[in-house]
């Protein structure tokens, strides 16, 4: 009765949660195109898309991916150890769920001879439990002991491990306690054997204590061999037809052996009840909380894998891409495979910005689509994190959940730079891919963040370089921003202007001074005069191709290009502080 009530409550919460989550798939917004579609438009697009697939050859692609999901082939290719961990946990758990948790609904219907205390069921239940334990051991090993670099563990990862540990170990303890429990033995004896004779009772109990892991207050070792022999015969007669040897329940049997010294006391204290509640409540809590936890990936990840196998940028409706990207956020299991391979991983370390790593971007994106307010520092860090990406696609290639991270970054990146307005990383080769995809945007939307970034980096350049303004010349005391010790040789510049003459950027403009603010030789003058503030605002710096013509041709061997780099670094640093 209590169990039924609890079960229905848990199922209710889980069901409602699933409905809400699926509703969010269609209502939450992500990416720069999200505002163009309403929830209903996205639902309609999804139905159309699904119909299109079911009535086409793509249905076979879905079947192939389904098999991939069952055996996690994607993960096997990437990381065999992680595959082993995951396959042990999922198959151990699924089989326990089907054979043990749902035994009266499934197993009994399929197998007439099912009895939880008979083999092979008794043994299999333990095999499946042991599989989950082995998988959990590997999970803890990977996350907490060998500490794979860049594999971050957050509260949800802990929850996922803990809930499984509680479910499995409470189950094993419960089984161990049942095996050792004198009260359970007595109950079974009364029901199935109903022995009148005390000597018979003693013989059977002795046999169970010796062979089946039972704890007893009445019989003690050493046993009379005759008692054991007689007990065995009684066991054969009354018990064996529906109870195999407890040794087959190897995890429970081992636990019973461990519990033996205290089992009688625990039994009196109601340990069986306690463990039963612990096990059942843990299972039901896991069920009710599933839609809101990392465990929701058991639904979202297969959906993501299936959706990605039949979708592409060219053929799919943009509305469906938005929906898929929301699903992908749920599909991410924070396994960090992406971050282990991220090409920009060292930038994350050097800049102390975790959001450069794809797995951590996913965590904060989940918060962002929920509408959680981020601090300005967090917001700046995520914009930088999403822009400081070499677009090498490794994350997309290795993601075991099949998440199309490439497309996700593309759409979220644009949304964020449009909202933030400026991001210094935009004025670097990281912009190559944005440039190659410029046709996705209107001319104005494409140019605006670039202009705003240049403006932000220019600082007070216009003010400083006003012709009527007097500037005080002073040698800069702190030269720490220079990379090389001999970079100060800009003071050797004798003003021949070769750097400017050979510069292809300068050559590109009819009126270079107007277009570029300062020309390379003027920037060198500025450095000589200690006017780095003024120099770092010149547009020349930010369109410098770093082709090194100036530096190569300088008769005084001033490191012109390197100095331009260092001025840029300084300007970015100033803007960030």
């Amino acid at each position: 009765m209590v169990f039924d009530v609890l079960l229905y409550i848990a199922l209710g919460i889980c069901g409602l949660g699933l409905m809400v989550k699926v509703f969010f798939w269609f209502s939450r917004k992500i990416g720069y195109k999200a505002d163009a579609f309403t929830t209903s438009a996205r639902l309609v697009a999804a139905v159309k898309g699904l119909a299109g697939i079911f009535f086409s050859l793509k249905i076979f692609t879905l079947l192939k991916v389904f098999i991939d999901i069952l055996f996690q082939i994607h993960m096997l290719k990437e990381n065999p150890l992680r595959w082993l961990m995951h396959i042990l946990i999922i198959w151990g758990f699924i089989l326990l769920l089907l054979m043990h948790a749902l035994d009266d609904i499934i197993t009994m219907k399929i197998f007439d001879d099912y009895y939880s205390t008979l083999n092979p069921y008794l043994c299999l239940r333990n095999v499946f439990g042991a599989m989950v334990i082995a998988g959990l051991f590997l999970a803890v090993w990977r996350r907490m002991i060998i500490r794979v670099p860049r594999m971050k563990t957050n509260a949800m990862d802990f929850y996922a491990i803990i809930i499984l540990v509680v479910i499995i170990f409470s189950g094993i303890l419960l089984e161990g306690m049942q095996i050792a429990s004198p009260s359970v033995f007595l109950e079974m004896e009364e029901e199935y054997a109903a022995l009148d004779d005390e000597a018979d009772m003693r013989a059977l109990e002795s046999f169970w204590v010796k062979e089946y892991g039972l704890a007893s207050a009445t019989v003690k070792e050493p046993f009379d061999p005759e008692d054991i022999e007689w007990g065995q015969e009684l066991n054969e007669e009354y018990c064996a037809y529906c109870h195999a040897s407890n040794k087959w329940a190897f995890t429970g049997y081992a636990t019973a052996k461990l519990l033996k010294p205290v089992a009688v006391g625990l039994d009196h204290a109601g340990a069986l009840n306690f463990l039963w509640y612990l096990h059942v409540l843990a299972c039901l809590f896991g069920l009710a909380y599933l839609p809101f936890s990392k465990m929701f990936h058991v639904i979202a990840t297969p959906v993501s894998l299936l959706a990605n196998s039949v979708m592409s940028r060219e053929t799919s409706s943009p509305a469906n891409t938005i929906t898929r990207q929301i699903i992908e956020l749920d599909a991410c299991t924070h396994c960090c495979t992406c971050s282990l391979h991220c090409s920009a991983m060292m930038a994350s370390k050097a800049r102390g910005n975790p959001y450069i790593l794809p797995s951590e971007k996913m965590v904060i994106l989940k918060d962002m689509v929920k509408g959680k307010k981020l601090s300005p520092a967090q917001h700046g860090a995520i914009v930088e994190g999403i822009y400081l990406c070499t677009n090498c696609d490794r994350c997309t290639v290795v993601c075991p959940s099949g998440i199309n991270l490439r497309e996700l970054w593309l759409s979220v990146r644009e949304d964020l730079v449009q909202k933030q307005g400026s991001e210094p990383m935009m004025l670097s080769p990281f912009s190559l891919v944005r440039g190659l995809n410029r046709n996705l945007l209107s001319g104005e939307a494409y140019a605006k963040p670039l202009q705003q970034t240049q403006k932000a980096l220019a600082g007070e350049f216009d003010e400083i370089t006003r012709p009527d303004r007097t500037v005080a010349l002073q040698e800069e005391a702190d030269k720490k921003w220079l990379l090389h010790s001999d970079d100060t040789d800009f003071s050797c510049c004798f003003g021949c202007q070769t750097c400017t003459t050979v510069c292809p950027v300068v050559k590109n403009y009819d009126n270079p001074s107007e277009s570029l603010g300062l020309l390379p030789h003027q920037i060198m003058y500025c450095l000589g005069a200690g006017l780095t503030e003024g120099a770092s605002g010149a547009r020349m710096l930010w369109v410098c191709l770093t082709c090194y013509q100036c530096q190569e041709h300088c008769p005084q061997q001033v490191k012109v290009t390197d100095l331009l780099y260092e001025l840029k670094n300084k300007a970015v640093q100033k803007l960030e502080n």
Binding site: S343, K349, L450, N508
Partner: protein, 293 residues
């Protein structure tokens, strides 16, 4: 022949796959063995504008990984090459930044002691394989094919760092082109920037530079511009194609062919396998210049 750690960088595996494929095929034919180090990360080049520490740490980690594998690096990309060479020079100096990089690498269980040689793919062909060995493999030399060789800035300059070729009158790529039977034409803008570094930052500037170069190459009578860098290739191939389709123009001013594609075809390797059709602008016509010997 030596074994090298192949450094692909980030662009090639996604945007210029045919460069990797064709380079591997050609190197295999010439007996150069390659090892893939999956842990390699970004060379640091795109970070040089914004963060010296991120640049130096990224670049040096790759050097440390190659050093750990006791292999020299074979680099396909000019910009990766320039960045790694620059990092090598910087790491030979003492300073706070260098010290910090060493500490951060130690956290990863890595160290770099300057025991790695960084070589560009073309340098390996020219110096380690040698023109004679290449010549022996040429099965179908080109006839009447005019090539405009494009060096790419970051292998040439700053020459004191890159140590690739004479920065003012380089000849390495020209020699490698000539060995295939093709003619290397003289073109005034040969050593200029392709424009790629400004793509995404100032597209007009970037395209102006590209357009000037290809116009110049065309005027010099070239059939193709020959590239050996993903950035340059993207600029001449992908960006040019996008500009053409934006302006609804049919004919490309100047198609680009990757050096290993050019070489591979004359070695008699299969054009499809060399990724000839993966170029955005059609270069299938190059086959018509091949001649059986």
């Amino acid at each position: 022949m030596n074994q090298y750690a192949l450094f692909l960088g980030c662009n090639i595996p996604v945007r210029v796959k045919q460069y990797e494929v064709s380079a591997r095929m050609v190197l295999k034919e010439l007996g150069v063995s390659l090892k893939d180090i999956r842990q390699f990360n970004c060379c640091g080049y795109p970070m040089r504008n914004t963060d010296p520490k991120a640049f130096l740490l990224s670049a040096t980690r790759n050097l440390a990984l190659a050093e750990k594998a006791e292999l020299d690096m074979l680099v396909l990309c000019q910009c990766c090459y320039g960045s790694l060479k620059k990092a090598q020079v910087l790491m030979a100096e003492e300073g706070d930044l260098q010290e910090e990089v060493r500490l951060l690498l130690a956290e990863e269980g890595l160290e770099y002691n300057g025991n790695v040689k960084i070589k560009h793919f073309l340098s390996v062909l020219y110096h380690d394989v040698g023109l004679d060995a290449i010549k022996q493999k040429i099965a179908m030399p080109y006839k009447k094919l005019n090539i405009a060789t494009h060096y790419g800035c970051h292998v040439l300059r700053p020459s004191r760092v890159t140590e690739f070729d004479d920065p003012v009158s380089p000849s390495l790529i020209d020699a490698l082109v000539k060995v295939t039977g093709a003619k290397s034409v003289e073109w005034p803008l040969k050593l200029e920037c392709c424009g790629a570094p400004a793509t995404g930052i100032d597209d007009d500037l970037s395209w102006n530079l590209t357009e000037k170069k290809i116009t110049d190459a065309k005027a010099a009578g070239a059939h193709y511009v020959c590239t050996a860098c993903p950035y340059c290739h993207i600029q001449f191939d992908t960006v040019q194609q996008k500009r053409l389709s934006d302006n609804k123009k049919q004919d490309a001013l100047m198609p680009a062919i990757l050096y290993p594609q050019l070489l591979g075809l004359s070695m008699g390797l299969d054009g499809t396998l060399l990724g000839i059709s993966d170029n955005e602008i059609d270069i299938s016509d190059v086959i018509s210049f091949l001649n059986e010997e």
